[in-house]
Subunit: 268 residues, 2 copies
DNA sequence: CCAAAAGTGTTAGCATTACACCCATGC
DNA sequence: GCATGGGTGTAATGCTAACACTTTTGG
């Protein structure tokens, strides 16, 4: 963005930044928790797993959580998030981004903290978690793969109480999803390589919880140079078959050198 | 965003998610590093501090870094970032947001790692850092306050090699700044409460590195209902005095219920 | 032939762009 | 009076929003 001229700085030597020696830095660990979304053509779904859990009363139960893991000394966060999601999703393409860190010292306490310490064989007083956002192309094969690995794709509308602070993370991720959709053409991360305009429209309608006029939507989409007809149509459908289109990422990247507009703020 | 009906899930009990027991989780610590920006009317500046540093050759030297600190067991990340910036900025309003975590296990090594271990009296093998983005209203009083505390406001164009991986963090923050400016009216975090339209325009021109037509800019700004005339003018200037305006955050928040538009992507 | 979903065009309104000159003040 | 920067208007263009009917296929 800017040049870096070779200028040297001569600072007064009177003050040096100091750490605060009364603080302690023990006993923390970092985890990743991944909110993986998929779209089944009708609804958004989120990937959850079961966790065995002992209630304060002593009875064993199981609740649901987002997939996650402590990170090891040797790995960085994206690797950890990848490791965690790969276990349930296999080798498919995953769109993966870091969201925010949940760092409240009390976010994991009591029973929950005991569960982590037992599970990992550690004795932590605190766990920070880095929330990741992910999208995958969901299809029948993936659903059954995930099921074999112990995960479930749960409709967003059917998610209830999750373990730890995972409801909070999920809400953050849903927000992130909407923002992302407003900014970049990420919809294609959810759809099969060949998709119909109607599929795309349904996805936008669900993500933004609105109805979209199909004429205006088609006009808009067909005007985008990076969405190309695949030259194929639906088959064996009891109505006029729809054309398939593909998203051309190269064209998108090439022509998307951002131009400055006076758009910057929400208008009147 | 969505309803949460009371549905219970009955999952197959065959698979339970498992951690990876071969991993270790010791010896990590988390720091925050804050990129604090200010605008002096002419250029963007970033807040840097000096660090005493021993070169491999053994000679003592000092380089520059972003203000930062390890986090203690008792605090969350925003508190740590606040603590760090307050030391240099005092009690002023700070716009503070978490950016991404820099988690490469090798990001701090050798001399740099030794410096941290010595400085904090710890023996870590690894430090992750959470990068924070901040904006403050910069003025002469703050500049001299910061100087007394050992910090400097360095023009972005004059920043050279920083300690650790802080150049990388700074680049991330500059990117973040541009994105933020495109999304929300954050410009006012940089400007005095009463500002002229020309000041605002200069700020946008510098942030986006473009020239803006002043007629179109004024038209746009004056059409925004949340920018109000302050009823005062510049004084003692050798030209037609400019009017002052203020940003009304309440009006902005009230009328800014987001409407869905088919704007979502970069256009043709 | 009927049901079901795909596909199509026009108009009005609004926001953005490009562009050149006059105005008020201090010195 | 002159230098300096503040302040103003209009026309062309392009994108968005509102709106209803025809087409193609399988059954």
């Amino acid at each position: 963005m800017r040049q870096v001229p070779d200028i040297s700085f001569i600072f007064a030597k009177t003050h040096i930044w100091m750490g605060n020696p009364s603080l302690t830095y023990d006993n923390q660990a970092i985890s990743v928790d991944c909110t993986v979304f998929g779209f089944d053509g009708e609804a958004l779904r989120v990937l959850l797993i079961r966790r065995r859990h002992t209630l304060p009363s002593g009875t064993e139960t199981a609740d649901l959580k987002l997939p996650g893991s402590l990170i090891s000394d040797a790995e960085d966060l994206p690797s950890a998030a990848n490791r965690v999601t790969r276990e349930l999703v296999g080798s498919r393409t995953i769109y993966l981004k870091q969201m925010e860190v949940f760092s409240n010292p009390q976010r994991v306490q009591g029973q929950e903290l005991m569960w982590i310490n037992t599970y990992y064989g550690v004795s932590l007083s605190r766990v920070l978690t880095v929330a990741f956002f992910a999208m995958v192309k969901l299809d029948e094969k993936l659903i059954s793969y995930t099921r074999r690995k112990g995960g479930r794709w749960v409709e967003l509308g059917e998610v209830r109480q999750l373990a730890l602070d995972h409801n909070k993370i999920l809400v953050t991720a849903m927000d992130y999803l909407m923002h992302l959709f407003q900014q970049e053409p990420v919809a294609f991360e959810f759809l099969p390589r060949k998709f119909t305009i109607k599929q795309l429209q349904r996805l936008y309608e669900i993500v933004f919880d609105v109805e979209i006029d199909n004429r205006n939507f088609r006009k808009k989409i067909l005007s985008l140079k990076y969405i190309l007809p695949a030259g194929e149509c639906e088959e064996r459908v009891a109505h006029k078959p729809a054309q398939y289109y593909v998203f051309d990422r190269k064209i998108y990247k090439r022509q998307n050198k951002k131009i400055f507009r006076l758009n910057f703020v929400g208008g009147k």
